[in-house]
Amino acid sequence: MNLKKIREFIIERLIFLGGMASIIFVILIFAFLLKEGLPFFRIYPLKDFLGGRFWYPISEPVQFGIKPLILGSLIVTGGAILIVVPLGLATAIFIAEIARGKTKEILKCSIEFLETTPSVVIGFIGLVVLAPFIRKVFSLPTGLTALCGSIMLAIMSTPTVVSIMEDAITAVPKVYKEAALAIGATHWQTIWRVILPAASSGIMAAVMLGIGRCIGETMVVLMVTGNAAVIPKTLLQPVRTLTATIASEMGEVVQGSEHYFALFALGIILFSLSFIVNLIADFFIHKGVK
């Protein structure tokens, strides 16, 4: 009897601990980023870090200006979102409202398939197929450009965007649709005037999560954007993102050096960005169907 009680007690404590694990890990991640990243600002002024126009971590004197990296991340993400949001919304509407039977199955399956494809594979295809194509079409010295990154990121974030938008559209109560159809609206008028407005907060959540995926993606941009840390002016030049900078430079830095701390400081920025984007997405999700 008592043994049973003790066992029950222990198991319930374990379950509680397991439940708290996520909070503990989020705090640990933030703590370790701060622990390794904050020392950087003792040796390098925050103003030059945020406002500096040059990222020259190994030249003399060193410069750690993150403007080109932030703008690199933003231009690649912006391009990807411009591609994936209209196309993704169209696909989501088509899957949720129009497609039937086999067509619907094929669309859903192939998108689910893409979701599980490792990002390094998508980066590789961008490197060997899309980049040479872009180089030829625009007659550039290299095809490894922001455009190439945007297109591959758009492909990579398609499953996230489409599936959440589709869920949002499906979640709209059927009576809304029936009411609109009953007073003589066409199917398209119903979708455009009734279903989409009702699903708008879910659609916004999909856009935010898409942005989050694009900003945080590492391997794709590392492989296809050319990695030149210059302030981008067009989509047709090489850029370097925050993520790619960490990935390509961390392997070569001396532990505890200024450069090492600087890369962790980039991590703090990335973590904060994704935190904000996820908060906004969460806000839209909880707003739910109007």
Partner: protein
């Protein structure tokens, strides 16, 4: 314009957009299979790589399997416990809201940030070094949200009446969960676990500084050894080693894709079987 005609035009446009979205998917797999199949041979799969990136991929396959196995061993117990907590114990209060927010955030943290965290905590602070162990821990935390969410949903799908019957017969809360809830949620949990395996086996960024070795002709001898891994091997061979033939990269890519597809197929089949066998 006549609303009927407008609808026809818009629907055609939507159809074309959908085609545009799925064409790249088919193209990607077409290229990988067409080019990759040329280098696949028994020798390619079972020998070690040459120093400059050619040769076989055997240690990378084994390394990926080790990393994935270790990740499952760590993340599944933790994730299932957390799922049980959220589904069976958590009340509607601030703490639960925080836990949910933390899970959403873990799911959204960029993979490279997990890499940094793993480097800071496991490699340096706990002195595990760049090793299989550090890699598994890092990947585990990354896939934790997948396991938790799958467990929670699977448990929520078990009808409330199952619990009520068990409790009314005098079973304790844990006995109820253990004998009347978990068995029926097993399939759903398994699907989540397999999906997290697929994710862990394909990730590169979290193992860049925590586990992956550029060139290691032998298999890891202990959990403190570095390992080769397929995704990292593909990245290195495709971008860092000059002069390796393109088709070798395609070959590595094909092996990785087939591995991930196999894992996902198992998940799909499991899910299908469960839906067929649903008992209530």
């Amino acid at each position: 314009m006549n609303p009927k005609r407008r609808q026809k035009i818009v629907f055609s446009l939507l159809f074309i957009s959908s085609l545009l979205v799925i064409t790249p998917i088919f193209l990607i797999f077409f290229f990988i299979f067409k080019e990759g199949i040329k280098v696949i041979s028994w020798e390619f799969l079972t020998t070690s790589p040459a120093r400059m990136g050619g040769g076989g991929v055997f240690p990378a396959i084994v390394g990926t399997l080790y990393l994935t196995l270790g990740t499952v061993l760590i993340s599944v117990p933790l994730g299932v416990l957390a799922g049980i907590y959220l589904s069976e114990y958590a009340k509607e209060n601030l703490l639960t809201r925080l836990v949910k927010l933390a899970i959403i955030n873990l799911a959204g943290v960029p993979s490279i940030v997990y890499g940094l965290f793993g480097l800071g905590l496991f490699v340096i602070f706990l002195r595990f070094g760049a090793s299989l162990l550090s890699g598994c821990f890092t990947l585990s935390i990354m896939v934790l949200p997948i396991v938790i969410t799958a467990t929670k949903e699977a448990l929520n799908n078990v009808p409330q009446s199952f619990r009520e019957v068990s409790l009314s017969l005098g079973a304790t809360k844990w006995q109820t969960i253990r004998y009347c809830v978990l068995p029926y949620a097993f399939g759903g949990i398994l699907t989540g676990v397999i999906l997290s395996i697929g994710r862990a086996s394909g990730e590169t960024a979290p193992i860049l500084f925590t586990a992956a070795a550029f060139y290691l002709p032998h298999l890891p001898r202990s959990i403190f050894d570095q390992v080769m891994a397929l995704p990292y091997h593909l990245y290195v061979v495709a971008t860092q080693v000059p002069g390796v033939e393109r088709r070798v990269s395609y070959g590595i890519c094909l092996v990785l894709v087939v591995l991930v597809i196999l894992i996902d197929l198992i998940a799909l089949i499991t899910r299908y079987q469960i839906r067929k066998k649903k008992l209530w």
